[in-house]
């Protein structure tokens, strides 16, 4: 027989426990006074204070009291319920009670950490504790609902984080959908030349992983695709992915690039996005040599077989004006299809990993550095492409005028640590600036100046890397660059003057250079805001996706079943992105391998005998969980659809809808409790 049943008619016996949390609570709240006060309240049988309630001895104390003192309610005043409610529900259950006979009082995050008057904080703790003491007698035993979990996983973003998470999940036999916005996976890492601190070539370490993704039987790779709709919840997300037309049938294209070679444009003419516009491509092109999938794409904006300009629905109209030499070249493969349309695919997955990455800061927002005005001002990412052997200059470090620079200035913290742009440190810029300085010295005889605010090189082997590179003979100037302007004495060559204060010598420096490299910081992607809405996530004030807890749940989000990997959560380098991707995959696993998800039983139900059939509640439910029974003239809530917001409960004029865990009577008791008079 259920232990609950036997106790149904017993008087309420509450055990109350107030936690010191070391000194976190006890320094601001007189925990002994709180325990003493609560002991005087009705139904309270035990009232204790203890150093760490969440520790094993603390939890065992609760269990022991439940057994020995025949407690049937437990209240713990400690940290936020979002942190330890689960822990104490577990302890309550281990003691032999229904876990929902437990109530938590937040006296750390909402009290001891935010208040400065010990007396007032103690009184507040008493009031909050009293609210819980008055609330728990109304608690009912509830059951956690178990819903089966779909083992498939969706990964959004095909950069190094998404790639690593996808391979990890797929190797363990899970079906993975990897959705990438661009025509190829690889992300920013594919654009880098070499990586710090090991100086191994980025593509050499990345391309095998990209190829694995492309050929893995468990990975469905959808590039040039975007998530447009997300419904459902953990274990059972319904996701719609829009596959944009690339005008090439993926299954038929072999990646031979005959179409590219035979295009009516004999020479590449259009700016190449992968090379940041520094190189040129044709209307039909391969995103880059190692692209995965190795499939060409046609740009309808410039292809002669399309009419110029987009239709209002975003599609393009075929003009049929071109000789279509590409189709001829493709021949029997018949992979080119100008009539291709965007296609929506619906999938069901149990978990989602967000790996949508970052964008680099646009230095046009710091006009004093002259980016976009002076041709010899580059961003660091552009320099990566220039230096890269497969880049637009085939690895020769030459400027837009074709000349090799004799002197190069690298400006740190562009769009980082700056009140006027972004306040955060982007974490990778110091190190990639040092790497670029090393690469410039390797490629040319140029003199290199690094202008930095502070040299930040944390992490394994990073300081060693800094020391090694710094000895290679570059200038390190401690000072933020104030201005970049053309050399008034030499207007013809495009030479620039970099002005900065050397804060170590207190001198204003004006250094003539041929090339300026801006070490741009990392920013949230512009579409992060839309994605946040789509996936029901939170963003920090800077716009990065917000993790559930900065230390204890760094890859989880507030939406169960959605995890974060890589730079979409904040700036990080490649090792950290990969580590986080692995962590996100492991978190997803722990959900999937359990086989089911537990759902909070905070759903609502209708007391049929009280329902007047007014139908007020029905249009309020965003999940259409409420239906009306025409025969009985009563409303009915489908528990499987109810998410437990309680909006209908608040609206019911006859008070005939009850929300489990948040019953009217429970809330009224809390209101009464927080306002009850306290001892003076």
């Amino acid at each position: 027989m259920n232990i609950m049943e036997t106790r149904k008619n017993e008087p309420v016996r509450i055990g109350f426990y107030v936690c010191h949390c070391g000194v976190n609570i006890a320094h601001m709240v007189d925990v002994e006074a709180v325990a003493k006060y609560v002991a005087t309240l009705p139904n309270v049988v035990v009232s204790r204070n203890y150093k760490y309630m969440c520790s094993d001895p603390g939890q065992e104390m609760i269990q022991k009291d439940i057994r020995e003192q025949r407690l049937n309610r437990v209240v713990v005043a400690a940290c936020s319920p979002l942190l330890h409610e689960h822990t104490f529900r577990g302890a309550t259950e281990a003691g032999g009670l229904n876990p929902f006979y437990f109530q938590m009082v937040n006296i750390r995050e909402h009290n001891s950490w935010v208040h400065t008057d010990r007396l007032e904080a103690t009184r507040k703790a008493m009031a909050l504790a009293r609210a819980a003491i008055q609330r728990v007698p109304h608690h009912k035993p509830l059951e956690v609902k178990k819903v089966p979990i779909n083992p498939d996983v969706l990964i959004v973003g095909g950069g190094i984080a998404g790639i690593h998470a996808a391979i990890t999940m797929a190797n363990a036999g899970k079906k993975v959908y990897l959705v990438e916005k661009e025509p190829s996976i690889g992300g920013h890492m594919a654009m880098f030349d070499k990586t710090f601190p090991t100086l191994d070539c980025a593509m050499c370490v990345l391309s095998p992983k990209m190829a694995t993704v492309g050929s893995h039987p468990n990975i469905t790779l959808w590039t040039y695709s975007e998530v447009v709709k997300v419904d459902g919840y953990v274990g059972n997300f319904k996701v719609t992915v829009r596959r944009k037309p690339r005008y090439i049938i993926e299954d038929l294209c072999t990646g031979c690039q005959e179409c590219v070679a035979n295009c009516v444009y004999k020479e590449p003419k259009f700016p190449d996005a992968f090379n940041l516009g520094l190189g040129k491509r044709k209307p039909v092109y391969m995103p880059f040599a190692q692209a995965i999938p190795s499939i060409a794409i046609i740009d309808p904006e410039v292809c002669l077989n399309f009419k110029r300009g987009k239709n209002p629905d975003g599609s393009y109209t075929v003009s049929d004006k071109c000789k279509k030499l590409c189709v001829v070249a493709c021949g029997d493969r018949k992979a080119i299809d100008f009539s291709q349309k965007a296609e929506d695919k619906e999938i069901t997955v149990g978990t989602i990993i967000m790996a949508t990455g970052f964008k680099t800061f646009d230095p046009r927002r710091t006009p004093y550095y002259g980016y976009g005005v002076y041709p010899n001002v580059y961003t660091a990412l552009e320099l990566e492409r220039v230096i890269n052997a497969s880049g637009p200059t085939e690895g020769h470090l030459v400027m837009r005028n074709g000349k090799e620079p004799k002197r190069v200035a690298i400006v740190h913290c562009v769009g980082s640590r700056d009140e006027n742009t972004n306040r955060w440190c982007s974490r990778v810029c110091c190190l990639y600036s040092l790497k670029l300085a090393h690469l410039i010295l390797e490629h040319t005889d140029a003199e290199v100046y690094n202008f930095y605010i502070d040299m930040r090189t944390p992490g394994k082997s990073m300081e060693e890397f800094y020391n090694r590179v710094a000895e290679e003979g570059m200038h390190l100037v401690r000072g933020r660059v104030a201005d970049v302007y053309p050399d008034p004495n030499d207007t013809a060559s495009g030479r620039l003057i970099v002005q900065a204060e050397d804060t170590l010598t207190n001198r204003i420096l004006k250094i003539p250079v041929d090339m300026v490299v801006l070490s741009v910081g990392l920013e949230p992607r512009p579409e992060a805001e839309d994605l946040r809405r789509l996936f029901n996530l939170s963003c920090s004030s800077e716009g990065w996706f917000l993790e559930r807890h900065p230390k204890l749940a760094p890859v989880s989000t507030f939406t169960d079943g959605i995890f974060l990997a890589g730079c979409c959560q904040g700036p990080k380098d490649i090792p950290d992105s990969v580590a986080q991707a692995g962590a996100a995959a492991a978190e997803a696993f722990s959900l999937i391998d359990k086989g089911y998800v537990e759902q909070e039983p905070n759903t609502a139900f209708v007391l049929a005998e009280e329902c007047s059939g007014c139908k007020s509640c029905i249009p309020l439910c965003p999940y259409t969980a409420i239906s009306f029974n025409e025969e009985t003239k009563k409303a009915f809530i489908n528990e499987a659809l109810c998410k437990g917001c309680g909006t209908c409960v608040a609206a019911c004029p006859s008070g005939s809808i009850v929300q489990n865990l948040f019953e009217d009577q429970e809330i009224f008791s809390e209101i009464d409790g927080v306002l009850a008079p306290l001892p003076q």
Partner: protein, 186 residues
């Protein structure tokens, strides 16, 4: 319920503010304010609900009736509600409540609704401090004391009626007796 105004041990009045915070945005923001060790006034008593849409207008009225000097509701920003649109439902009720409490003689400024996202710990600090300042300016509301006063008046009136009716029509006074103030509010 006789303690209608909240007095600190040194005898000064300090407001009591009941807050209803949604679990996903504002409650989490208040947690963030805690983790960030921001300091704000201790007059606030937070009651956690899953959604601001769960805030029954009766909760607000009940809080005032039981001695709150102010009520603060916190929910997710428009378009960001964890439950799609519970915050809009809350907004409607809030606008109705604003007018309703004014009719009851409660200054509308004693009720405030704020959209505070999980990232806005700083906003929790600011809003709570502003709210406490506003309510301090308004002074104690003291509805329970008023109830007592009204009860006394009603009892006096009932006695007066009973006495005058007792003189005119004896026997009817017994029926009138239950109509004392005890039934006026619960």
């Amino acid at each position: 319920m006789s303690d209608s105004t909240n007095k600190t041990p040194d005898g000064n009045w300090t407001p009591r503010i009941v807050a209803f915070f949604c679990n996903w945005c504002t409650y989490t923001a208040a947690d963030l304010a805690g983790v960030s060790r921001m300091k704000y006034a201790s007059n606030i008593r937070v009651i956690r609900l899953m959604c601001s849409g769960r805030v029954d207008p009766q909760f607000v009225v009940d809080a005032f009736a039981k001695g709150a000097d102010g009520v603060l509701i916190g929910g997710c920003h428009p378009n960001d509600c964890h439950y799609v649109e519970g915050n809009y439902k809350c907004l409607r009720r809030y606008q109705m409540l604003k007018r309703m409490i004014a009719d009851m003689g409660i200054e509308p400024d004693r009720l405030r609704l704020e959209w505070i996202s999980a990232a806005e710990g700083e906003k929790v600090r600011r809003v709570v401090n502003e709210m406490v300042e506003t309510v301090k300016q308004l002074g104690p509301l003291g509805i329970p004391a008023k109830f007592e006063q009204w009860d006394k008046e009603m009892n006096a009136l009932a006695e007066h009626v009973a006495a005058s009716q007792g003189a005119g029509a004896p026997g009817s006074s017994g029926q009138n007796k239950p109509q004392t103030a005890q039934t006026a509010h619960v």
